[in-house]
Structures are given as C-alpha cells and as structure tokens.
Symmetry: C2
Subunit: 220 residues, 2 copies
DNA sequence: GCTACTTTTCGAACATGTTCCTAAAGTCGC
DNA sequence: GCGACTTTAGGAACATGTTCGAAAAGTAGC
C-alpha cells in the first residue's frame, strides 16, 4: 500500500544510459538525470541512495550484459583470463573510478568471474583460503591499475598554475636519486606502456610457486 | 612587483594541519580552511589550484617529515621494505584516497623510496626497464590495497535504503557459484585479514624469478 | 464515502567547490 | 609625488550533491 510509484528504477537507469550515450558521462548530474527522466531531483533519492550508488547500479547493469568468454582448460590461464576480463570490462568506463573506491566489493555482475578465478586457483593446488588471498591480491593490483590509468586520462592538462610542481622527475637530484635521474628522459615513455598482463602473470606465478604444500600441477 | 602577498602557502598549510588535527580531516572544507587562515575562500585559489592540489601538497608536507628507515642489506628485502614503508605512510591518512586517484604519480616526498625500490631491483638483476616495470606493478598493487582498505573504513554503515543490494554473497547461487557459496560464511573474515605483505612478497618473487636473463642473485 | 495510514513526489534550502570580476596595494619610471 | 602596471584579495554568483518537511496519491478498515 501507499502511494503507487510513478517512477521505476529501470526508467532511471535507462535515462542515465541515454544521457551518458548522448552527452558523455561527465555531464551526468543528478539534476540533468532527473530532467531526462521527467522527475524532480529529489525524487531520485527514493530509488538511489546517492550518486555513488547510482553509478554502482549502472555499472552492474552494464556488466550484466557483458559477454562471458569461454575459459581455457589450463587453470592458471583461467585465472589470467578472468582477471583480464575484469580489467578490460571496468577500464571501458571512465566513471568506474568513482564506484571502485566506494563500492569496494566487486559488484554482483562480476561475481561469476571471481568464481572462475577461485576455481582456477583451487585447481592449481590452492586451499580455499589461499585462493581468496590470491584473488584479493589480484583485485588490489587490478583496481590500482585501473584507478591510476583512469586518473591519468581523467586528469586535466596541467596548466601553469602557481604553486604547481611539475617536471617532477627532471628535478631529480642526480646524486640523491641516481636511478631516477638516469631514467628521467624515458620515464614518461616507460610508465605509459601497458604492463598489466606482465605484472599479473608474475603475481600469479609468484603465488602459485610459493604455495606451502605442492608446486605446479601441470609439469612444465 | 605587484601587490605583496599577505598570505603564504606555508600559512595555509599550517592552518590546514591545525584544522585536521583539531576537528578531523572530514571537516576540512575550503571555506573553513579560509576562515582558519583568516582569509577569504577565493584567496585560497591563488595559492592552490584546487582542493585536490591542496591535499596533494599537504601529503607532500607530511611525507617530508616522515622518518626514513635504514634499508636492509639484501636487495630483495630493500624492495619489500620500501614498498611497505610507502604503504604504511599513505595508509595513515584517510584522505590519501582523494589524492591518489588524481595525483597518480607519487609525490615529491616519496621519490626517495621509489629510488630505493629501483635500486634494489637493479641489484637483483633487473635492467632499468624491468626495474620500472616492477616498481609500477608494486605501485598498482599498493595503491589498490590502500584505496580499497580506505574505502572500507570510509564507507558509511550500510543503511537499509531501498534498492540497496547487500548480503551480496549470501545470495550466491550454490550451483552457479559453488566456491563463493561455500566461502560465504567466512568471506568477511577472510577478506578483512591483512595480506598485504604476503601478496607483495609473492609479486616480487614472481618478478625476480621470471627475469629473462638471470635468476636469483642470492643462492637460496 | 469517510477516515487513518503509508508511500511517493517535490519545492525550498543548505554546504561545498569553483569561477568571474572588481577593488586594493604595492613597485617602477619619471 | 604621480600615473601606468602588476599582483593579490575578496565579494557575488553558479552548479552540484544532498537533506527536510510538507503536500499528493493511493490503500485498508469501517
């Protein structure tokens, strides 16, 4: 009972996607979204806790329609694949940043990939506890990579504002920081390469090799 | 020439620290900071590009006074130590989150730790390029851990708002997600443990063992 | 049909980060 | 000393996320 709703969560999500597709996600504001949905701004807050919650739900809706790739037979490769798919999926939406830092647990829609990851880890010889540890490490690594990469893009071009220190590395003292100074020229190039899968593989390898009990399940 | 400044960057930083120490960092707002410094809000923007820049400078100032621990002799342990110190230092201030995602490059004050890390990596047999790769992987992992951990704390207690999905894992379908379902009870416990150094060690080990040229410098 | 009761909707208002424009307060050339 | 010039200071105003309280719009009991 009570007054019947004139607005549904689904309508709101649809309006949000329309707005994002049309004008870009940066222009997605509560008031604009309300206008697009034909309701008052404050009405939104009956269907959504706050803006982070809105983005979180939006991400879930998107992720739901994501194609689920078939997994390789090798369990270690399954771990790699699952992590890579998570990363690729999240990196496609810049506003994922706002969600990730608030909604730390991976959303409902990504659970099946966590499952695949745990499954691969266990088949590689992990105990369930170790599998969770490996998952968490991978998630930290992945979330950090996404956030930092998104930050780099999202960052406005550094304007010459007062009290702004840039050319951070060029000022590197050659006697105090010899390696950094030596790398200063190439730093931008080196740090803009995509080394996600390299790091991921090394992380997974390090984990699986350091298991207390057994080593690798497939003899190399 | 020009009108002489009545306000200095140093005063602003001092006022900010006073405010944070007294009332907590959540109450650090531009207007309150201006009031504490005895100036108008808009005057702040002559010394600071925006709030993120303010926090970033604040972090640098803090980090500058951070004690620099002496490094162990073993190069691999130096890597671990440097990373751990970075993590510990950053994790001490909750507002670090806002800075990290914007100011992706580690600040000026943390450069010496990056240097130590590169140094350890190179002494472990890395080329400079590989050392940078290792650094970046560690940085992703560390940043992700900090952000997610801070997010968990920073998160307001989940109130029972409509359209809020919680008990994420308890709803795990036992047939679709067997491992997650099996772990559901213990999930909260397992994911609240501090596994940073475990993951860090495995990551570093994986990297150093996978170097194309040589293996481990110190024979185990 | 009328009266509780419940839920949704929304206008007003607030705090915050930020920008724009104008006024103040000096220095420099003379 | 005086007018250009330059830099800082600050008031007014705007967009945004969000809260509060009251009005609207139904349902259930009688």
């Amino acid at each position: 009972m009570g007054r019947p709703p004139r607005t549904s969560r689904t309508e709101i999500m649809a309006a949000a996607r329309r707005l994002i597709d049309r004008d870009g996600w940066e222009t997605l504001t509560i008031r604009r979204l309300a206008a697009e949905a034909g309701i008052a701004s404050t009405t939104l807050y009956h269907h959504v806790r706050d803006k982070d919650d809105l983005l979180s739900q939006l991400l879930d809706d998107y992720a739901e329609q994501m194609p689920r790739p078939d997994m390789p037979a090798d369990p270690r490769e399954r771990i790699i694949t699952a992590a890579t798919v998570i990363r690729e999926t999240l990196a496609a939406w810049p506003w994922v940043v706002e969600v990730l830092i608030q909604d730390n647990q991976t959303g409902r829609a990504a659970l099946w990939m966590v499952e695949k990851l745990l499954d691969g880890a266990i088949e590689c010889g992990c105990t369930p506890e170790q599998a969770v540890d490996l998952y968490r490490s991978i998630w930290y690594y992945t979330a950090g990579e996404i956030l930092i990469r998104a930050g780099r893009v999202h960052r406005r071009a550094e304007n010459d504002h007062p009290a702004r220190r840039d050319a951070l590395l060029r000022a590197a003292d050659a006697t105090e920081l010899p390696h950094l100074a030596a790398l200063a020229e190439r730093w931008a190039t080196l740090t803009s390469r995509d080394t996600y899968s390299l790091g991921l593989r090394n992380l997974v390898d390090g984990y699986l090799r350091n298991l207390p009990d057994q080593g690798e399940p497939d003899r190399a």
